[in-house]
């Protein structure tokens, strides 16, 4: 056993932190909330220059060939700095799905472009009326017509669809024997005729979109994985997404703890730093404990995923645990800052809002706990 980061990971963590602090200060993160695109193309190019998008893409596709766990180190640094933009949906949702399920041609076409920062990808799963990440919610229809499938229906909460080049879209190709059966995935050109996209205003301004498909023709060769058997691939995307989101979240938790401790050492009321009040010390001690437990739970799940071990339960546990605790830690961070913490210009609120957004992404707490309940042996 060796529960430390490798030297390479430490370097990555440090250099990513330094880069993001310099290139994407929190003021910029907040500006990007009001930006139409929701990310900075310039910064995106710089990140591509550092090889980040290709970090975990095999070298034969112009990536760096590092592991999923290495990627989560980077994601934690991004969460620590609340970097907005399409990194996670492009790399975790997009690249990994293609690595896992893509044809040789799809890989050759897309992976180098992702690695070089030339293609933004996202995943389109949820639909109006479906409230959880469950196969039963997939009703968007794909019908075969000549060389194409024709897609019609609506997707919601599609991350960064406003700037995406491609969407991996879950569609129903037949009424199967179960909800899971009969779902196929398509790599859809996001600019194809018949697609329209609107940004849904959300608490974290994270550009979750409603995407309408009106008779959108998708070439048959753009199916990802096998016909009618797309759901396990989607589950794998969701599982990686859940770890990625949790890694970002623990980064945000650490930032919230650090910020609060620093503030309480500095802020004077009643002639002493407010950090001298035990009532606040104990809150901060709890914030730290919860951040520690969250981190190691996430690291463990990331390691298992990276090693290819079965880890559906561990991932669900990590996500459920982090969901609740990221919200709690950031709520405490705001409260301990008093008035200033409640203002737009202060960073604590930025994390607090992100924590709410992170909570529902890739399955909320109830959804994850249900997975855990099954895995620990509760009959249903």
């Amino acid at each position: 056993m060796d529960i430390t980061f490798t030297e390479e990971q430490e370097m990555l963590r440090k250099s990513a932190g330094d880069f993001l602090t310099a290139e994407c200060p929190k003021t910029k993160a907040r500006e990007l909330e009001e930006d139409e695109k929701g990310y900075s193309p310039e910064l995106w190019q710089k990140m591509a220059g550092l090889g980040w998008m290709g970090l975990a893409i095999p070298e034969e596709y112009e990536g760096m060939g590092m592991t999923f766990q290495d990627l989560t180190v980077l994601l934690e640094a991004m969460g620590n700095n609340v970097l907005p933009g399409p990194f996670s949906c492009t790399v975790v949702g997009g690249a990994f799905a293609i690595i896992e399920a893509g044809t040789a041609e799809q890989k050759k076409d897309l992976l180098p472009r992702i690695a070089n920062g030339e293609a933004i990808l996202t995943t389109a799963l949820l639909e109006p009326g479906s409230t959880c990440y469950d196969a039963s919610g997939v009703n968007l229809k794909a019908t075969a017509q000549g060389d194409n499938f024709v897609l019609s229906g609506t997707k919601v909460f599609v991350e960064m669809a406003n700037v995406a080049d491609y969407m991996i879209c879950a569609a129903r190709t037949k009424e199967g024997s179960s909800d899971e059966d009969g779902i196929s995935l398509f790599i859809v050109d996001a600019k194809a005729p018949g697609i329209s996209c609107e940004v849904i205003p959300t608490i974290a301004f994270d550009k979750l979109c409603e995407v309408r498909f009106e008779n959108v023709a998708v070439p048959k060769k753009n199916m990802l994985g096998e016909m009618d058997k797309g759901w396990p691939i989607m589950q794998s995307i969701m599982q990686k997404g859940a770890i990625a989101k949790s890694a970002e979240s623990v980064g945000g938790m650490q930032a919230s703890v650090d910020m609060t401790v620093a503030y309480c050492k500095d802020r004077v009321q009643y002639d002493r730093p407010i950090g001298a009040f035990q009532a606040l010390q104990h809150i901060m001690a709890d914030m730290w404990i919860i951040t520690q437990t969250s981190k190691y739970l996430v690291y463990q799940a990331a390691w298992m995923e990276s090693e290819g071990l079965p880890c559906a339960m561990e991932v669900a546990m990590a996500k459920a645990y982090v969901n609740e605790n990221y919200k709690w830690v950031t709520e405490r961070a705001v409260s301990l800052h008093g008035g200033i913490g409640t203002s737009r210009e202060h960073d604590t609120g930025l994390y607090y809002r992100r924590a709410k957004a992170a909570d529902t992404a890739f399955g909320d707490t109830d959804f994850q706990r249900e997975l855990v309940a099954k895995k620990i042996g509760l009959i249903s």
Binding site: L126, S130, T131, C132, D134, S136, V156, F157, I200, P201, T202, I203, A204, L208, E210, V268, Q269, Y270, D271, I274, F277, A279, L280, K327, E331, V334, S335, G338, G339, G341, T342, S343, R344, E345, G349, Y352, R353, K356, A357, D359, T360, D364, T365, D366
Partner: protein
Amino acid sequence: MDFKLTDEHVKLRKEFFNVCEELAKKRPEGFTGLEGCYDTDEGWAYHLDCAKVFAKRGWLTLGWPEEYGGQGTIMDKVFMSEATGYYDVPGVDIFGVDMLAPTLHATASQEIKREFLPSIASGERMWCELWSEPNAGSDLAALSTSAVRQGDEYVINGQKIWSTGAHRAHWAFALVRTDPNADRKQKGITFLLFDMKTPGVTVNPILYMDGGHLYNEVFLDDVRVPVKNVVGEENQGWGVTQTLAAFERSNLGAIMGMHRQIEELVNYCNETKVKGEPLAKNPLIRSRLAKAACDLWAAHALAYRIVDAQSRNEMAAFDASAVKVFSGELQARMAQLGTEILGPYGQVKHSRWALFEGFFEKWYQQSFILNVAMGTNEIQRNIISWYGLGLPRMK
């Protein structure tokens, strides 16, 4: 012991509810709470309109002495807050009606009362509270805005912060330092009133977490205020702020708001189907909504007990702290629960995709108003520990 309301109270309470129900129909879309009043022109106009309706019925002077046009008792005031709280209807200026008026009744001279109470009663003049400063929040007595007497005026210089509604309010009640050499910082503070249009008053917005314009920073540069606008005595302002016993502090407004939130969530869960089953059948949701209801009924019972104590002049400050902490934190949990029940839609801001006009997304952020403003919950817990439980106070 008897929890029963008199028939007369029941009737009056019903009347408050009926009027508020009507007013609620004119609510601008997405309007809620204090931010609703101050953020948009529409919300502000609605606030003023509701104030006029209440003023006409004499409902802004509930519990006031009759010579100032008062009617009813503190109990009536409580029923009124229940009604406005339940329907999320503004119109009762928390600063003018809820805070300043009782302070004036308790401490001010005849002249001040005659000059300032009528426009509060008529709902025409709205107030803001200029107390907090960048370095004087919880430790309010550390405030440093100075007021130097020149003839029959004070010349005021300093900065205030977190001033809710200062960009809309007509007048302010402020705390300023008139004696910088007093031996204790609580001494040498003066409570005074001035027009927000006085030269030298500059109001700059600070946006709230959710982007709304709720509070401000206020700069005071050589602001001249007549000495006759002092409430109480010069240098005795701290004492003026401590007349809380006269305030209605049951938090029943917030509590009734939560009753409505539960009702709405219950309706939503009964009507919304997931995989063919109403959400209401989900045992997780049942249990959590039921828990919220238990907490809420507990808060309600405590609030009534505080009103009752107050109407007998037996309420202690720590009683009010208890209900403030409990109901404020309950509202935070309720907003959480609301966003959770709505799933991914819980994060959606007021828009065509939002449920309940984005109410729970908003309160997920606005609940800090209840838990930080007017004395943080940590400070309330100190008050309970020191004055309620008699625990030793660390120096």
